[in-house]
Amino acid sequence: MVLGPNTDIEVLLVAYLDDELDPELRREVERRLNADDKLRTRLAVLAEDTDKLRNAFDTLLDEAPRARLDAGLAMALVRTPKRRDHRYRNAILAAAASLLLLICGGVAGYFIAKAPGELFEEADAFEEEWIAAVAGQLQLYSADSVAAIDVNDGDQQAALTRLGEMLKLDLSPSNVTFEGLTLKRAELLHFQGQKIAELLYASEKHGPVALCIAMRPGGEGEGEVESKDGLNLMYWASGPRRFLLIGAAPEERIEELADAVNERFSS
């Protein structure tokens, strides 16, 4: 449809209001407006404030379920990793962190993927994929569910014993208890033939924390706390095992916990 003087007048008026007419047509419309009272009235009617529209729809943005949208993105990133470029581990890290936001009940807004090369410098390919697996498993927890998880002491004890046998570590209740944290789940994950123990903790003071331990040599020794938007994590290796600690807790807290974990379980 080419706009011309014979176009439906309502279409012309709206386009005029939206400043989408070329100068010639614009002048033509103004000429008609000047000459026609009724047309001016219709213009006034049409000039229903688009600001009202915009404001109404902007309030909709506040309704957006951000934690769930982030989790959806995290899943998308896990499912669609970039290939043949080890910078994609950052996207997977984003996945892990964003999914943890899901169980933090929206504690800290968005997780923005960090610039390439800054995270997990020492991680090898297995690490990246393992973390993706942890991320994938974490998404099974809904936003408010961690604190509400009921713990059966007998079952938990049995799980800890099994995991301890696998890792050749003493995972007795006293050894996996940390101040301010309540152990909610002790689970065994399997990934690429590798067994991984995951301990999921609820906290009163901050968000949930997950500790993952894998029996697999070869990781790098020293970890550093990475932090973004209230979510912190630390990754390190010690002897034949690798550790990942991730949670919505302050940096110092993650460091403190990592120290405690390392102290109890280092070889």
Partner: protein
């Protein structure tokens, strides 16, 4: 997939999620369906990252993808329920009187807009809320620019009439 495009998309997506959800909401009129649309859009955008030119508007590209996924869902649903393929322009009577089941659209303006036919709603959203020009909207919607104009005119006349009558 191009390393750079993928990174750009992954990096910018988080900030765009609420706007994508809002667009999905205008199309599907259901918040949960909108969430699914957003996630499906993320997957497809990442899969097709090589088709995105870094430096161009990512939001426009994502709107197109979301819309395409929505239309495919509609088409599949219509075939399943035996309704066949219906030209969206012709659905307007039914859409207009359909009850809006969710109260997320409370408020006169939202209620009135969400009662409009789908094609008019989404055109309004793209032009007046997302700020696309007529041509950009035409590109996203894959229609001639004249269609954008007539949809806007119809929608605005309808909204003005409703406002005037105090409805």
């Amino acid at each position: 997939m191009t390393a750079r495009s993928y990174d750009v998309i992954a990096g910018e997506l988080p900030a765009l999620l609420p706007r994508l959800w809002r667009y999905g909401l205008v199309l599907a009129r259901d918040p949960v369906a909108a969430e699914d649309l957003v996630q499906a859009t993320c997957v497809r955008a990442l899969e097709r990252s090589s088709q995105f030119t870094a430096g161009t508007r990512l939001d426009r590209w994502l709107f197109s993808i979301l819309r395409s996924i929505w239309l495919n869902q509609l088409r599949a649903q219509r075939i399943r329920t035996g309704q066949g393929l219906v030209d969206p322009e012709n659905v307007l009577v039914t859409d207009g009187v359909e009850e809006i089941e969710t109260n997320i659209f409370a408020g006169q303006v939202l209620e009135r807009v969400m009662a409009l036919p789908e094609t008019q709603r989404e055109t309004l959203l793209l032009v007046y809320v997302e700020g696309l020009t007529y041509q950009e909207a035409a590109d996203v919607l894959n229609v001639p620019i004249g269609t954008v104009m007539s949809r806007l005119a119809s929608a605005r006349m309808k909204l003005s009439a409703l406002a005037g009558s105090g409805a």
